[in-house]
């Protein structure tokens, strides 16, 4: 009995020891772009998009699991592996795309900051520069352990969405039925939304971030079981939150009158006002938290990946003179990202939507690299992908490519 308890204690300890990378990644997944995409989906299509969450969760788990497995087995980041196995040119191309894509994502995060605080009549010309400065200092001057703790705590704030979802009193029966009843429409708005939903949930940059974080944390094959559990728990949580966001918007907006959300990323929060001050506060507070959370991780992760892949020194524990490329890239992503939001006449929502769709379009590209890498036996040994994993990940590639092509086709035909 005592042995059993001891063993149990050991496993719990390991679980908390590795708690961090997978969970944080999954949570940061619901960034401002994600929240907006889900809100917009719920506001326009009601409970209809709920069915996508189940397959998205499976795909998310499979993809994230592949990353953390690669990190644990090889001890190398995704950018490292792409460089070693595919050479410099390919790496350069991937990194160039990643920087551009992530810049649009950073813009989306700062747009989230601006939008959520403008609900409280705070000007974006004050809030966005402050947020940018705060984020920069937190990462550059803080140390990794305390930053990770801050992030883990920030993950808890996402619960606000569950509460606001309940406060709205949506039609639970309808929600339950639609969660398992797939409906596909060949309507460009609908397909756009679907790509956005997959793209925001399984974003390319997260794969780079997660794998590096697993390596950084020193998780080895031995502790891998705990790490996998963490990934699964995190992914399920992510989509539970997504579920409540969609349900909240379906209940509060769509059931009154279906509507396009395209003025302010925080418009959904405003629509929750009739359901009480709390629902409104929780929803907008959640958005602010998510935006800042992701704005702290995204530029950092991008700078890391690029330096890793191209062989520059990186890391916040290095001095500016030691890792100039890293700091320049990190700082410019924040400065440019925040700067774009402040341009006069900038449309917050258009940019967010664009970033999510770009995520979705580029995802298959990154996924193919990952699938090729993880099936290399000289790299992964016995840890290569099981067949059904390959099936799910190839299916994701095919579906995403199909959706992207369908979108292009529909928009050409008008």
């Amino acid at each position: 009995m005592r042995r059993l308890l001891e063993r149990w204690r050991y496993h719990i300890l390991i679980f908390f020891g590795v708690l961090g990378p997978g969970f944080i990644t999954a949570m940061v997944d619901n960034d401002s772009g994600g929240i907006w995409t889900y809100s917009a989906a719920g506001a326009k299509y009601g409970y209809l998009p709920l069915w996508t969450l189940l397959p998205i969760t499976v795909a998310l788990i499979v993809v994230q699991e592949m990353c953390s497995r690669m990190g644990a087995v090889t001890g190398k980041g995704l950018a490292d592996l792409i460089r070693e196995e595919f050479g410099l040119r390919m790496t350069f191309l991937v990194m160039a795309l990643l920087v551009l894509l992530n810049l649009t994502n950073v813009v989306a995060e700062f747009a989230g900051v601006a939008g959520s605080l403008e609900l409280f009549h705070l000007s974006r010309y004050v809030t966005v520069p402050l947020a940018a400065l705060g984020v920069w200092f937190l990462v550059v001057k803080g140390n990794y352990v305390s930053v990770e703790k801050v992030f883990l705590f920030a993950s808890l704030i996402y619960i606000t969405y569950i509460i606001s979802g309940i406060l709205v009193k949506p039609d639970w029966k309808e929600a339950a039925i639609n969660s398992v009843r797939p409906i596909v429409m060949l309507d460009s708005g609908y397909i756009y939304m679907l790509i956005g939903m997959v793209g925001t949930t399984i974003a390319p940059w997260m794969q780079f971030y997660l794998q590096s974080a697993v390596v950084e944390k020193g998780i080895t094959v031995k502790e891998y079981a705990a790490s996998r559990l963490e990934v699964i728990v995190g992914c399920v949580m992510t989509d539970v939150i997504a579920f409540f966001i969609i349900v909240a918007c379906a209940g509060a907006i769509w059931s009154v009158a279906p509507k396009d959300l395209n003025n302010n990323p925080a418009e959904a929060a405003l629509a929750l006002k009739p359901f009480g001050q709390y629902a409104f506060l929780l929803f907008s507070g959640g958005l602010l938290n998510a935006s800042i959370f992701a704005a702290s991780i995204l530029p950092l992760s991008t700078a890391y990946s690029v330096c890793e892949g191209l062989g520059f020194e990186a890391g916040v524990n290095r001095r500016l003179s030691e890792a100039p490329v890293f700091y320049v890239l990190y700082t410019s992503l924040i400065v440019i990202g925040a700067g774009i939001v402040l341009l006069p006449g900038f449309q917050l929502v258009k940019m967010i939507l664009l970033s999510q769709v770009l995520n979705g379009v580029l995802l298959p590209f990154i996924l193919i690299f990952m699938i090729v890498l993880i099936n290399k036996r000289d790299l992964m040994g016995e840890w290569v992908n099981p067949r059904w994993f390959n099936f799910v990940s190839w299916a994701t590639v095919v579906i995403m490519t199909g959706l992207a092509l369908a979108l292009v086709g529909i928009s050409i035909r008008g």
Partner: protein, 415 residues
């Protein structure tokens, strides 16, 4: 001078011409045979039809950027077995190596070779491993722009290279390491803290390769400098128990105990079994104490004398403990019952006559803690009394070990 340089990216896909000047294929890779020569390009791999051919360096007449590689001997063997070859394109390009002088891990972007004529043929030798922006530009532009342009433009970018002698390839497979004549002797001479930094930057397999092949003393020093206790444990775990035991024996007992306590019990037992009996007992005793108590922090490396000893006795004792001298700063006195009676700052010995009693040189107050004192309290003592060494005693007042300031610094840094 600049004309005698050839970059590996320029060599790649150079045409290879036979005696009559007919093209038989293009250069696909070049390889060193380290057992024969450390830097000379010994083999060129040529791809034409379905198979690759191997060209030995002495089958070549000339290598020029304009005309390519001209052979002097057409008897080429098909390329198959390459166990003894270090292939530049496959094994070096885009991989990580250790920059021994710069003391860091870098990624290879290109390789600079020197081209010289020895009277009969052109010979290529590896001069430098290129990293940084200039070589990235070269890699990206090669084949897109003519080589002359690439060379001209890149002059504006500052170079960043490592001399080949100071580049250390990391090879996880021990057999291949032997065949390729890769050794880590150069790493053994590094400062342990630098070596630890390098090791922390590598992937686990490469990390193990290094600890497996450097000598136990260097390995022990570097292992103590690795900051993350989890990483220390996983390195030790990955080694053969004998090798792990050799390394642990070389470590200070308190550090050895700290690392072993991170391991699973079966593994740490296995390592302890392989150790010599004297260090084993010490480490075992230390393992008994909880990590965050004085007992867990202390080590058993100290010099102790009887309380009627004289300065010359102390000198004699020090001569017998030369391996401790580097860190020693306090001597301890004990009475007949082995109870701690006094602590003597080492520096006071210099000013005292040889026959004077050590007791007279002792610090006014004896500051000591018991083995079960908490870590926080110990840290507080160090701060309050400005200590370098703090003696730890058991329940009966017998000296059990000492805590030194470097242990405290590590604790504070981890917070």
């Amino acid at each position: 001078m600049a004309d005698n340089l050839l970059y590996f990216t320029e060599l790649l896909s150079m045409p290879v011409l036979d005696l009559k000047g007919k093209r038989i294929g293009r250069a696909k890779d070049a390889a060193l045979v380290p057992r024969e020569h450390a830097a000379r390009i010994d083999r060129f791999l040529v791809g034409g039809g379905d198979i690759w051919l191997t060209v030995r360096y002495d089958q070549i007449r000339s290598i020029t950027l304009d005309r390519g590689i001209q052979l002097s001997d057409e008897q080429l063997l098909p390329y198959h077995d390459d166990e003894y070859m270090l292939r530049i394109g496959r094994d070096l390009l885009d991989q990580q190596i250790i920059d021994v002088t710069g003391r860091k891990v870098v990624r290879v972007t290109d390789v600079t070779m020197g081209l010289h004529h020895d009277g009969q043929r052109d010979i290529l030798t590896v001069l430098e491993v290129d990293i940084g922006v200039r070589s990235i530009f070269r890699r990206l532009a090669q084949g897109v722009l003519p080589w002359r342009w690439v060379r001209r433009i890149q002059r504006r970018i500052p170079p960043n290279s490592i001399r080949w002698e100071f580049a250390n390839v990391v090879e996880p497979d021990p057999l291949r390491r032997l065949r390729l004549n890769i050794s880590y002797d150069k790493l053994e001479e590094m400062h342990p803290a630098d070596l630890a930094d390098i090791v922390e930057d590598l992937a686990p397999a490469e990390r193990e390769a290094i600890f497996d092949s450097i000598d136990s003393e260097a390995a022990a020093d570097a292992l103590s400098e690795v900051e993350d206790p989890k990483m220390q444990a996983s390195i030790l775990e990955s080694l053969e128990p004998e090798k792990a035991a050799d390394i642990v024996e070389e470590m200070a007992p308190d550090e050895a105990a700290d690392i072993l306590s991170e391991l699973e019990e079966a593994t740490s037992e296995e390592i302890l079994d392989e150790m010599d009996s004297a260090p084993k007992t010490e480490v075992r005793e230390l393992l008994e104490f909880a990590d965050d108590t004085a007992g867990g922090l202390m080590n058993t490396e100290y010099v102790v004398l009887h309380d009627h000893a004289t300065v010359s006795d102390a000198m004699a004792a020090l001569k017998g403990n030369e391996d401790l001298l580097e860190t020693l700063n306090t001597l301890f006195l004990i009475d007949e019952e082995e109870r701690l009676t006094a602590a003597i700052p080492l520096a006071r010995l210099f000013l005292a006559a040889a026959e004077s009693r050590l007791k007279e040189l002792a610090s006014e107050t004896l500051i000591q803690v018991t083995v079960d004192e908490t870590q926080d309290r110990v840290t507080e003592f160090f701060d309050k009394y400005n200590l370098l060494t703090l003696p730890v005693v058991d329940d009966e007042g017998k000296l059990a070990g000492v805590i030194t300031a470097d242990d405290i610094i590590s604790i504070l840094r981890q917070k």
